[in-house]
């Protein structure tokens, strides 16, 4: 890597006052470093560089600001750099404030950084804390998320996965499920948000995480929230059901038109089914799902599904829907003692999934760096 003198010199070029061409080259060099694992690790020990990058995001040159954000995205994709980013360089406050600016053109990049930073629980807690400390709070994030065209220059679709990551924390889940407010209800329509798979996936992830708290299941399934149709609609197809089956369905699923299509992303389909499965944990939940004709929807879904992982999730759900009630003492599936080896298997599966998502984020960051067109859908 760089010698101490070289590093010092480079740092001196990374100021707002430096001549533009020198400044540009210096930032490009740093960006290059962030593209490699060794480069990232090197920068881990050099918080001053990261601080400089943050300062340069206020630079008048758009090209320089872009490079700075790309570098930060790359750094945030590596968990070992989280502490230096958040603590030493303290990038969060400035990121949040720019995020809320409806005219800020780099807001999408900020969202990506925040999503990366909130992926793992430890830094996620930091992100949440700063969100509160800066006086912004979750209500504002949800409000921006639910406002179409909040920012004309940025789509802010990555607020979806950000929220999903934040629901790792009980405080976030509590906020989303607050019965005195209207939060989760405002998120529900986004399970069908056609403009962005990323946002849609984030919302479905949020809902799934919120369904781990089974104390809220009955409320979620009641008219006060009515989560069921929003989970089922993306899974329902144009197939005609009998009049009898139709009448038993939730209103939103009745008489669907011939051109109805299902959710195209298999991961989202899987998450939706997992959420439904979570809702079958309690007896009340199972009864409601059975009564509202979820089975015919999943029956038709099963005929059309090709992805093995999704098929297996579907089969699990159908199994619960058509089985008799379990014996007394086993009614709440979440309170069962799961044998340790099975529990380990679940954790392993989760970890693999997270790794996959992390890889994707890294790939995107790399692509951004190389100025490739990555479809943002």
């Amino acid at each position: 890597m760089l010698s101490d003198t070289e590093a010092k010199e480079l740092l001196s070029f990374l100021t707002l006052e430096t001549r533009p061409d020198v400044k540009g080259q210096a930032t490009e060099y740093i960006l290059g470093l962030t593209g490699t694992r060794d480069g990232c690790r090197y920068l881990q020990s050099k918080p001053d560089f990261i601080k400089a990058l943050l300062t340069l995001t206020s630079d008048p040159s758009v090209a320089i600001v872009k490079d700075c954000y790309h570098a930060l995205i790359n750094l945030s994709a590596d968990e070992t750099l989280h502490q230096v980013l958040v603590k030493d360089a303290n990038i969060l406050p400035s990121l949040f404030h720019n995020l809320l600016d409806p005219t800020y053109m780099f807001s999408d990049r900020i969202c990506t950084i925040l999503t990366n930073l909130s992926r793992h629980e430890k830094t996620c807690k930091n992100v949440f804390r700063v969100l509160q400390e800066e006086g912004i709070g979750l209500p504002k994030i949800v409000e921006v998320l639910c406002t179409e065209d909040y920012n004309k220059k940025a789509s802010l679709h990555y607020l979806g996965p950000l929220l999903s990551n934040l629901t790792q924390l009980p405080e976030t889940r509590q906020f989303v499920l607050d019965r005195e407010r209207c939060v989760v209800q405002r998120l529900l329509p986004y399970t069908q948000y056609e403009a962005s798979t990323v946002k849609r996936g984030g919302i479905v992830g949020t809902l799934r995480n919120c369904c781990f708290d089974y104390a809220n299941h009955e409320w979620l399934l009641s008219d006060a929230v009515d989560i069921l149709p929003f989970l089922l609609l993306p899974l329902a197809g144009p197939e005609e059901l009998s009049e009898e089956e139709n009448e038993g369905l939730p209103v939103d699923l009745q008489y669907l038109p011939e051109d109805k299509t299902r959710e195209e992303d298999p991961d989202i389909r899987k998450m939706l089914i997992e959420t439904l499965l979570l809702l079958t944990a309690t007896r009340v939940g199972r009864q409601i799902l059975k009564r509202k004709n979820v089975y015919p929807i999943m029956r038709e879904f099963h005929k059309c599904e090709k992805e093995p992982q999704v098929i297996s999730a579907c089969e699990k759900l159908v199994q619960v829907l058509i089985s008799d009630e379990p014996d007394t003492g086993m009614e709440n599936l979440m309170e069962l003692d799961i044998p340790e080896d099975i529990e380990l298997k679940f954790r392993d599966m989760d970890a693999k999934e997270e790794e996959q998502i992390g890889k994707e984020a890294l790939m995107r960051a790399e692509a951004d760096k190389n100025n490739l067109e990555v479809p943002r859908s």
Partner: protein, 395 residues
């Protein structure tokens, strides 16, 4: 008075009293209109007059001007009018309340809060009178002045729901909840609007499905008729046989559609129309005419495969109709004819099926109901009816 004076005044009294009987008391209430007159006295008014004309009601105008003193600053006047409106509102006198609020708004006081409240209150009065549009407009005006006025936002949402404008209602609720996220009323309104909206969407989908089903049924019915080469008669002109020719197909389809649009006028008269059953057979409403006695018989659902004899056996087999005074309308004596209304008749064997007859070139269906003439073989009426007409035989 002392007794002495009493004595004296008695005489004086008489004279005094005399005046009363002789001279009318000026300014007295008239027997016929004393109630009206009473109403004019502010003290005894039961209701305030709609407009107070200072000439007719000087005292009332005076009182009003004390309330509505034009010398006071507009804010005070507006506030007084607001209070007056609120009083009327409490009495459920919404019309008067609206008048007061409107007067208050006219003052154009600088206090936008007060202005917003006047609009909001007037909106409430309109709402209770059922004037949803006016109420909504007022709520909108209030919102413009004070975007975070919760009562205005709530009222706006309510109006939209009443007007079945559910998407708009949801928007009002969103704005309201931004101001006060925990407001119970707004959350209830939001949930209600959402439910109504989704139900309305379902109803629209259901109607579409039904419409499509009906269209498909109609199309297959018309196709079945066309395939059989049965002619449908519009009131103006008959249509030729359907063929593969494009133009003919066009006009046939168009005529079929018009046939539909004509409402199959028989439907109004009899309530029945031709339909296709599950096995693909047509059932027609059929009219039998008995010109000898000016009678008719109506078969509501004559399967095209049925033979005429079978129906005649039922109609005339057991009992003859009362109008058959000569007792001669036995099934074996009956002859069936189709009248082409141009002076030519087509006679056919009752052993034939309805379809066979309808398919014939000379046959057509008028007003959606095939009709046939029934005569008694060899009867005097039959001879007379047939004279001068060309009779063709259907083989």
């Amino acid at each position: 008075m002392s007794q002495a004076q009493d004595y004296d005044s008695d005489d004086g009294m008489d004279g005094f009293m005399d005046n009363f009987t002789k001279h009318k008391y000026k300014g007295a209430f008239n027997e016929s209109n004393w109630e009206e007159e009473f109403d004019k006295v502010p003290m005894f008014m039961k209701t305030a007059p709609e407009e107070i004309d200072p000439k007719k009601h000087p005292e009332l105008a005076c009182l009003q001007s004390i309330i509505h003193d034009d010398d006071r600053p507009p804010e005070e006047q507006a506030k007084a009018l607001k209070d007056e409106g609120n009083e009327y509102f409490k009495e459920k006198n919404y019309k008067k309340a609206i008048v007061s609020y409107t007067e208050g708004l006219k003052k154009k006081c600088q206090d936008s809060d007060l202005h917003a409240i006047l609009f909001t209150n007037r909106a409430a009065a309109h709402f209770h009178l059922g004037n949803m549009r006016s109420a909504l407009n007022d709520a909108l005006a209030a919102k413009k002045l004070k975007p975070d006025h919760l009562k205005a936002l709530t009222r706006g949402a309510q109006c939209c729901i009443e007007l079945c404008n559910f998407s708009e209602a949801l928007q009002w609720c969103e704005e309201g909840l931004k101001v006060q996220p925990k407001d119970q009323k707004l959350q209830e309104l939001r949930a209600a609007a959402d439910k109504f909206k989704r139900t309305a969407e379902r109803d629209a989908r259901k109607a579409k499905v039904k419409e499509k089903k009906e269209r498909v049924q109609r199309d297959s019915l018309l196709r079945a008729i066309k395939e059989r080469g049965i002619k449908l008669l519009k009131p103006d002109k008959p249509i030729r046989h359907g063929s593969d020719d494009e133009d003919e197909h066009e006009s046939m389809t168009k005529a079929m559609a018009e046939f539909e649009l004509d409402g199959l006028s028989c439907q109004e008269a009899t309530g029945f129309k031709v339909h296709l059953d599950d096995q693909g057979f047509l059932h027609w409403p059929v009219l039998f005419l008995y010109p000898e006695y000016g009678q008719t018989d109506f078969i509501s659902s004559f399967n095209e495969c049925d033979r005429f004899v079978d129906h005649l056996a039922v109609m005339f087999g057991e009992e003859l109709p009362p109008w058959d005074v000569d007792r001669k309308y036995h099934p074996q004596n009956l002859q069936l004819y189709f009248d082409d209304e141009k002076g030519e008749l087509l006679q056919f064997d009752p052993e034939m099926s309805l379809l066979k007859v309808l398919k014939n070139d000379r046959c057509f269906v008028k007003d959606g109901t095939p009709s046939f003439i029934v005569l008694v073989k060899g009867s005097a009426f039959c001879k007379m009816f047939l004279s001068g007409k060309t009779v063709h035989q259907l083989k």
